[in-house]
Assembly symmetry: C2
Homo-oligomer: 122 residues x 2
Amino acid sequence: MIPKKINLAEKYGKLKAGDYAMGIVAKMNNYEIKVVRFKGDFVWHSHPDTDETFIILEGTMLMSFRDGVVEVKAGEMIVVPKGVEHKPSSVGGYKSLLIEPEDVPNTGGVQSGMAIQKGEWV
Amino acid sequence: MIPKKINLAEKYGKLKAGDYAMGIVAKMNNYEIKVVRFKGDFVWHSHPDTDETFIILEGTMLMSFRDGVVEVKAGEMIVVPKGVEHKPSSVGGYKSLLIEPEDVPNTGGVQSGMAIQKGEWV
């Protein structure tokens, strides 16, 4: 069987509407690669067991840490180390790839209306 | 310490010249994220222990498998499953992100002038 390619624009076209949407597009070993669309202010959280990679495709993400803010624009990426508190936010919105092991809770277990219990494929 | 963002264009500017260049730009747990620039015909090989993710940033990659070829263009990606023989090639050249566990040999151990023993940071 020939592996299938994934077209990211096509996957974004299938995401649900709203300021926050996320869908799994691929698995690599036990890691998930997800497309994310986000606008607004996320919740402070951390992931005790894993690093987390954001690759910005469109727009600008402000990634807040307890000791400073990093502006990550299209064509840029950032790896949030495990255990480090962070909070993504964006005024104009961004699209990013998000890469991390499967079944990592998006809010690190923090209760929030934005918490997603189980990622869905798109 | 505030994590640093990575600007991909800046990293590409630091790659050595030639049809094939690769540099590690980030670590996520025990995975490496690399920038690759490639033009030409790679060698047939496989990676017995891991999947491998290519995210195409510019240009077009033809990924050959023993039973077919997949054209992967900018904005598209493909995950090559572990153990599956593959051969990237490109007439016009491509730039891609390459994501896989650290210290995976680029030719899967196949002897070639393109073999890189140990990836270098850029």
